[in-house]
Amino acid sequence: MAMEIFESGLSWEVRANSRHYHKHKQKKSFLCFHWGRYADNVVHSYKYSPLTFLPLTLFEQFQRVANLYFLLMLVMQCIPAISSVPWYITIIPLVTVLSVRGLKDLVNDMARRRSDFEVNSRPCDILVSQSFDSAQWKDLCVGDVLRIHKDQVIPADLLLLCSSEPHSLCYVETADIDGETNLKYRQALSATHTQLTSQPSDETLAAFDGLLLCEEPNNSLYTFRGELHWQGECHPLDHAHVLLRGTVLRNTAFAYGVAIYTGADTKILRNSGKQRVKTTQVEKVFNRVVIGIVLSVLLVALLHAILSGVFSSQVMGNADISSTVVVNANPVYTGFLTFWSYIILLSPAMPIALYISFELIHTVHSQFIGWDMEMYWQPAGRPAQARNTSLNEELGQVGYLLSDKTGTLTQNRLVLRQCCIAGEIYGDASVRAEDVEPMDLSWNPFSCGGLHMSAPSLVEKLRGQQCPPSRQFLTALSLCHTVVTEWKEEALFYQSASPDEETLVGAARELGWVFLSRARDFISVSELGVTRQYQLLALLDFTSKRRRMSVLVREPEGGLKLYCKGADIVILERLHKDLQYQERTERALELFSQACLRTLCVAVRSVPEASWEQWRKTLAQSAAMATCDRDALLEKLYDQMERELQLLGVTAIEDRLQEGVPETIALLQQAGLKVWVLTGDKKETAVNIGYSCKLLDPDTRLLEWQELRQILQAPDPGVSFFKARQMELWAVDKKMAGAKTAVVLTGPELAEFDQRPEWGSTFMSLAEHCQSVLCCRVTPGQKADIVKLVRKHTSSVTMAIGDGANDVNMIKTAHVGVGMAGVEGGQAVQNADFALSQFRFLQRLLLIHGRWSYRRISLFLRYFLFKTCGFALVHIWFGFFNGFSALSMYETWFIALYTVLYSSFPVMCLGFFEKDVSAESSLSWPELYKSGQRQELSSPLILALSLLYAVYSSLVLFFIPFGVFYDTALDYQTMAFTVAMAATFTATIEIMLLTRNWTKINIAAVCVSVVLFFIGTGITHSTVLFKKAPADYIFIGVLAKAFVDPVVWLTALLTAWTAVLPSFTAHAVNITLTVHDKQKVHSISPQPVELKSTFRRGTSLRRSPNALF
């Protein structure tokens, strides 16, 4: 037995109804020791308890380098020998930062605690000694048998034993797990079904003593492997037998199950992994600058330490002075101590409050995205959502937009427009779907409208029993799918994970082939009013790799039929050789794809009894195999069955473009974005969508693989690219040739890039000159590869947008991933950084929110750098005139309060409210977006200039007061106040220069900062505080004296003005030079979006199919 367990890897042992056995093996922990095997069903997503909050939050926060750095400073300040400023100076900003963040974490944790409590105390029915008792989720233990009611959430991963429905089917909704709202069915083993429902009572369930052997808990939602040993038999189990925690039981009165995994072992909790941390370009640059600042501080401290040593050795001659100034009469030791003192003194140059403010601004920007009414999608009641709150400014820098097609550019609200049965085409796609004249379907009681295809001849044929292929075609549509039915108020509803299937089954219903219900082994279909039961023998499911699905059924008459539907190339290559309609069908396929319709081929095969028997045996053997071997074998088996098919026909489904897609793409292209489309669709469909959404112009020249390959292989690809283009367009205006080329690639062609990695960079440099790149027939993996290619060879920010599970990979790979909350499941959204409901919302997301965020955050960072460095670096210059002794230029309280009170509010307001142009103007002048792509506001050069500016202003802040105070009777404290006032004024004037958008809050923040400076200084200079602690408030009376001294005021004002003079001049130069650009932007009329002369488009269409086949 043990051997067997080891071999199969099924080491998770669960004994049904033996609570005692599992209870003592439950996981327990004390401090950091853990023992036991089975988790209990209590969810602990909260982190803190009243006792652990403080240590834990401090531990977490000091993992950030910035906080740790300041803690180190704090410790150093407590050493009297080197303490240049008192310890409380660092602690004020540090405590502010720690408490703001700690409070934020605490609030989040309280919310988690509440939701945990709510979840843990949900009711469930557990079988305890012969009868079901009502209990709470947290009481549940592995091996317990549970009863789940309709619409109840399943509390743990359960093995379904039986249910109230026939064949122990049950339906679950998995919205909480993958966001898909359609129903899925699960089915109990027939063994448990028959045994446990024969005598429907609690006793039989209580007597159930099966032994379950399963794989160890893992996070794979769609696989499960296990065995049930019961009554001497071994039954293999897979994921269809399992009800996962978090899913909801629907359409089923009761279901009974035994808990396999509880609590932390359940698949959903195993899946709640961490999100990958993405850092933005701006942040990366800024982090490097901060490291640069820290290194410079070290360097300056070292320099001053050496000079301090030199100074000390010079005064060694005088015993009076050296006894005070030189520590231990040792200049080297004095220099050593001075080094640390300067590190402390210059530490405010490292912006401590920056990271917390940065986070706050990001959070608010993300809220703005969610609050935007114009990105709210009324029909679905869904606002836009920023799931990742730290990427906002990246939205203002996107250079490449890689878009999925289906569901992203298109609505994914599918309508059957045409079909071709036995070579005969029905329906007319040239009429708009809404304008199709509805057919008279009153003969069909199940008809409920929604068919946008007018084909009276087909109906006639069907009802007149004339054309067997059409009848078979519709039988295929009503059988070959995974749709689930649901009766709501006497009406039949279809639910499916695939919108295509739902459309096709719905269309079949309108035409009289009504799919009624699905049981484990049977599918009931009403064919023109006659209900027929098909025995379902096998379902060969759809995968993106197989691109087809089939069902094997036994007809009521006894024959075996395989119905198959799938992508055209897959089906066409599996057809029986001599087929009469093949040529006509292929022509129909071509026509359909030219009309931008999605096509699926439907085929049938009669299966001989003997081959079915043999096939079934092999299939049964495969069930016991390990996952990876089994998959390969299944692939082969399925392939054997889906052969020698007879083509029945082709369906053509229209997937209409979303509202505003052409305008959005045109706008984004004007904003300098490269829009690429990556799709699994056929080339013609993709190219046609490209034309209809204005991604391609009618006169765009398509560069296809053969040509591209030649160019790539050429010794000088760039030259041959332009040559090729010129040859083609020699007659056309040269200027025009620039943008009017688009590359069209397909999946297999892309695969060649894997073998020729050197093509990557060449291709990218060509692609930069192209209008767009279309990649068709690509797999999810290839989509991600393309994103990687772009990321690798350009420095641009990439954004991927998609709606389906097949886009998840690319969404995760791109700098910014956008998920479309559409018809397909929620997986794309789950993995995305931003979620939108409509493609056109990208306009606002990028051009307004993105551009503003980028501008705000860049300005915020630059200003922050300026204000902290300009303020702190004054100490370097002061050092030259105080014997390099690390005397502070400011009152110590001022250092503490400057970052927190005197200069923080206006810059936060800038980060929240700044806008240079209004939202409307951002959209009407998309060219403004380009500054973000070029990193105009956040390039390392700009940040270096800001630093230089800070150094300049620190020089001014010191040397003007120096000149005034030199050889006068004015004392140190007055000078400290003067410099402090000048520094505050400088910071305030600079923010006033940066702010373009003055809301009331901005104005208030600026006024409050200045007023706070005087109030704060007044308080620390007050008599009251001095009397309490004479040593800490030695600046008593300075404000009162200096406030009335005109020299102090005149010095401070002159200093502040001189400090910001470069900034003011730069602004003035900017205004003088760019005021005309704005006028230009004005004068550029929006490019006429009216495109494509029909003739041109016709030619390109005619050309593309030839190139394809």
Binding site: N318, D320, I321, S323, T324, V325, F368, G370, W371, D372, M373, Q378, G381, P383, F881, N882, G883, S885, L887, F913, K915, S918, A919, V964, Y966, D967, T968, A969, L970, D971, Y972, R996, N997, W998, T999, K1000, F1026, K1027, P1030, A1031, I1034, G1037, A1040, D1045, V1047, L1050, T1051, L1054, L1061, F1064, T1065, H1067, A1068, V1069, I1071, T1072, L1073, H1076, K1080, S1083
Partner: protein, 340 residues
Amino acid sequence: MASSYNAKEEDGHHSGAPAHGGAAAAAAKSKKPDNTAFKQQRLPAWQPILTAGTVLPAFFVIGLIFIPIGIGLFVTSNNIREFEVTATPTRDTSNVFMYYGLSNFYQNHRRYVKSRDDSQLYGDRSALTNPSKECEPYRMSDGQAIAPCGAIANSLFNDTLELYHIDSNGTRNTIPLVKKGIAWWTDKHVKFRNPGGNNNLTAAFRGTSKPVNWRKPVYDLDPSDPDNNGFINEDFIVWMRTAALPTFRKLYRIIQKKAVTTPTLPSGRYVLNISYNYPVLSFDGRKRMILSTISWMGGKNPFLGIAYITVGSICFFLGVVLLIIHHKYDTRNNSADIPN
């Protein structure tokens, strides 16, 4: 500066009102964002329209403000009569201030600045006998606490300056030097206090020792005025208010004006008598005596005026340069725009 008021309709209230009505429940459930000016980022705001026309004049205006201020400051500063050591008397009828100046004296060295105990100086009894560690190595002397402790106090400037006027007869008249009112009011009355009030200082300071460099104990600093002794001695207070930079001056005495018409220091020969106590040579420094009148802007300070004139001129110059750029750019641009 021209501004455009870019206020959009403040529709914050509109969305709030219906939510109280019957639709409250529905509105609460709906995820539809609130239509408030804040959430829609439509807060009314001033957006100053900055054009060359508004920015360039700013340079000239600032230049035009700064240069006169600078000239005013410079003239004021020049009107202040200041005489170093060899003093030529004036006909000024205002008070004349007498300063001593020290050069290359790092009174702003951190270790020096810290070497004091403000609690002791505030008259705290426990600090008197047990001064702060910061005062080391001038904390204890012969087992007794030093009062006042620390390096600053220890290095108190203790030269005595006396000024005589030699009139036409050759007689030597002592010019009365006022030593009251040279310290800050807050220093004299709040920051510095003798332990146990001003009575019987000898008893109050019993058990303490004088700073090592001093000749007299702290309660005996001014034999002439019993109220000017101990920590509240004004010379001491002035010294304790440390200088900002290594070259500084400190107020020593005030020569008060006599009457409205007679000059404070009539012309004639003067003799300055310095009791040379303070060792300046040892720190490679220089010692000076300055007589100066003051104005509204305090002592003589030519730098500030020059700085104002300089910065004002730079602004003016920048304004001119920008004007030229603007003019050139403007014409070039207009001509370039025409073909479009």
